[in-house]
Structures are given as C-alpha cells and as structure tokens.
C-alpha cells in the first residue's frame, strides 16, 4: 500500500472512530425542535409531538393545560402563549413557568431567548389582564400589579 493511501485510510478511520464516539457519548435526542430566535437557536421538545398536545388553528398546538394555566405554541412566529387561569395568579404563574421549562426541557437562560407571552384573561383578574408579563425570571419579565 502506498504512503498516500495509508495516510488517507488513517484519516478516514480516525474520523470514523471520532464520529462513533460522539454518536454514542452524545446520543441524538428525538422529537426535538430547533427554534430560531434573535439571540440564537434554542433546542426544545417539539410541542407538536408531546402526548398532551391538542391541535389549534394555524398549525398551532395547545400542549399543556390544567386549572392553573394553558400553554399554546404557534409555529408561524415560533411564539408561545401562557394564559393564567387560576385567580391565585402568582401561584399559578410560578407553576406555569416551572412546568414550561420542564415540558420543553430547557434552561431559564434558553427560555428567555424564546418569544413568550404570559398574560391573564379579564375574567380571571380584571386588574392584571391585558398585559404581557413575560417570564418572571427573564430580564424583561414584569411582576403582577398588587
């Protein structure tokens, strides 16, 4: 075997071994969705593939709902809507934000890159309704009025 062929074969085998190591050490997560944001990309659990997902218009999905909150996702602008449904709005918000991170399997820093609308409907709390409070742990998060 010529010297050139030996070098090429060595490179090929070396890269293959590196590839295999990476493949097994960092297994590819399934059902992931890459969300593009102005601050970079964020990898989240695909809301459409979550078992609790209910389809909405415009290819949207309601992927989490209970007596405290309801969360929708719309791929059109890759935006999330968190509606607080419990009159104890602060406690419901804490639960919603915690579950939001867990359901999408993301960190707080990554969540702050996403386009999230967090608001309270009029029939839940008139005083707090109509505003986007965003996620409370983000720099642009707002607190509820007292």
């Amino acid at each position: 075997m010529s010297k050139k062929a030996t070098i090429l074969l060595s490179i090929f085998l070396g890269l293959t071994i590196i590839g295999l190591i990476i493949y097994f050490v960092f297994p590819q997560k399934e059902n992931q969705l890459i969300v593009k944001t102005p601050s970079g990309t964020v990898s989240i659990n695909d809301p459409h593939k979550l078992p609790s997902g209910k389809p909405l218009s415009m290819d949207g999905v309601n992927f989490k709902e209970n007596t405290n909150y309801s969360i929708d996702y719309y791929p059109q602008d890759q935006g999330f809507i968190i509606a607080i449904l419990n009159p104890n709005i602060q406690a419901a918000r804490d639960t919603a934000e915690k579950d939001f991170l867990e359901t999408l399997d993301i960190t707080k820093a990554a969540a702050c890159k996403l386009k999230v609308t967090l608001s309270v409907p009029f029939d839940v709390n008139e005083n707090a309704s109509g505003k986007n409070y965003r996620l409370s742990f983000c720099p642009n998060g707002k607190t509820f009025p007292k």
């Binding site: 493949y23 601050s39 970079g40 929708d72 935006g79």
Partner: protein
Amino acid sequence: MNIKINFKKILFSLFFLVLFLPTFSYATLSAEELVYTPMEEIPGFDRPTSYSGYITAIYKFGLWTIGISAMVMISIGAFMYITSAGNSNSAGKAKGVIVDAISGVILAMISYVLLYTINPALLQISLPDMISGGVTNGISGGSGGSGGSGGTGKCEPITTGPCSVENLKNTCFGTNAEMASAICMKESSGQENKESGDKCQPENFSISLGLFQINLSANNLTGSSCSQQTCATSAAAPMYTGKKKNVYCTKGTNYTSCVDSATNKDCNIQTACALSSNGAHWGKWGANSECGFPN
C-alpha cells in the same frame, strides 16, 4: 523587474471576492431594511433574503459542487484507467484521481455528519443580536405600545397567534387590528379555546367563549365560518349580564354546536367584527372599560 503572474492565486482570490462581495451590501443596510434580495439567484436556492440564508445557501451549494465534481473526477479517472492499456504509470495516475475524488467526498460528508451529530443547531446559521436584535426590538416596541390607537397602557396587543396584529390586519378588522388585538389579549390572552369563568346552570358550562369571549346568551354568531349561528335563545338564556347571572343552558345539540363555532377562530373573529362594526366600537366588551377604545 520580473513579475511572475500566479494565475492560481488570482483565480482563487476572484472566486472568494465574488462569493463574499454581497457581504458588503448587507453591511451597508440598516437594521430596518435588513432584507436584501441578491440580483442573481444561487442555483437551486432561489434568492435568499437574509445574510444567514445567503451563507447557508452557499454552504449547501458547495456541498452539491463537491458531490458533482467528485462524480466527474471519478468518471475521468475511470476513463483514464480503462485507456491506460496496461501502462502502470497511467493506471497509477488514474487510481490517484479516483482516490482523491472519493476522499474529498468522504471528508465533506464527515464534516457535515460530525457537526450534525454534535448538535444540529451548529448547522443553522443565524445572525448575532447586534444585527437582528434591532429589527426584532423595533417590531415588538412598535406593537407593545398601544397608545397610538387610543389604548391606556392596560391593553397591549398580542404578538403571537390568531389575534396578533399581523394576522388581524388581514381580516375584517383591517386598520382597527391593533385595537382588536388588544381586546382579544385582554379577554382571552389570545387563546382560541378559552372558556369563561361565567357559567350557566345547571351544569356549569361556560357562557362566553373563544378569542373575543363571545357571550352565547347575548349574541348570535355571524359569518360564513360559523356552522351554528343561532345561539342567543337556543343555546343559553336569558341573557347573562353583570347583574343577571342566572343563565340556563342544556348540553344539547345547539349548545355544543354553538361552542364548536365560537371556538373556531374564524367564526369568533367574524362575529366580533360584526359586533364591533369592524373594530370601530368596543362598547359591548366589558374589558373595554379599561382599554378606553371608542364605544
């Protein structure tokens, strides 16, 4: 003076100059006009309108070029090998051409597979904050302030989903889309399946539904997207008001059909349009007491 012209270097420089010349065009654009359409399309990728799209298209075009070039070189090498007629020197050269072509393809493929395996996001090129942040902030800043349409700061338009200003502009609300979006945000937080806390008896079904929280005991549904339109008397009665809260409804066909229609976003928007005179008058919505839009 003896100047040696190196054609390889000149060709290489020209190639990169042509490839990255559009970078300067993007650089001269302000944040507001970041969308730029190249005069020539990149084969197979139309005309990317963003810088990241341009780089991605060039990268993918490069992969295609490597693949096609390798195929051509393998064919040439094979032809050389066949026509070497037992000449070991020619046959060696032909083998070299084939091996080089195959190794080029393998290297290109491995670089892609390695990056994709580590993190697919590495292959998605996006602009840093410095450039694209300006655009986004500009948009959200503009829609965040509802003062321009008579809002009081308590009623912000929503920027996501069917009630976003962008979507409502294309409906019957037209130029009143910003007010409509703010009312939708205040009433339902932009949730198309939102059921009200106001309930009818005896089984605690919701009276108001959908994006604009249409009160089924007070209003019929209007519009081509509403499969059931008569609701005010047949689904829930008497009319639910702030003072009169004893409303009765039965979970019969009418009520179920009215709920299905009212939670259909198009039907809900069309009904809200009819009730608000295409978004000009919002007096029928309790939420407007805080928004201060025209009654």
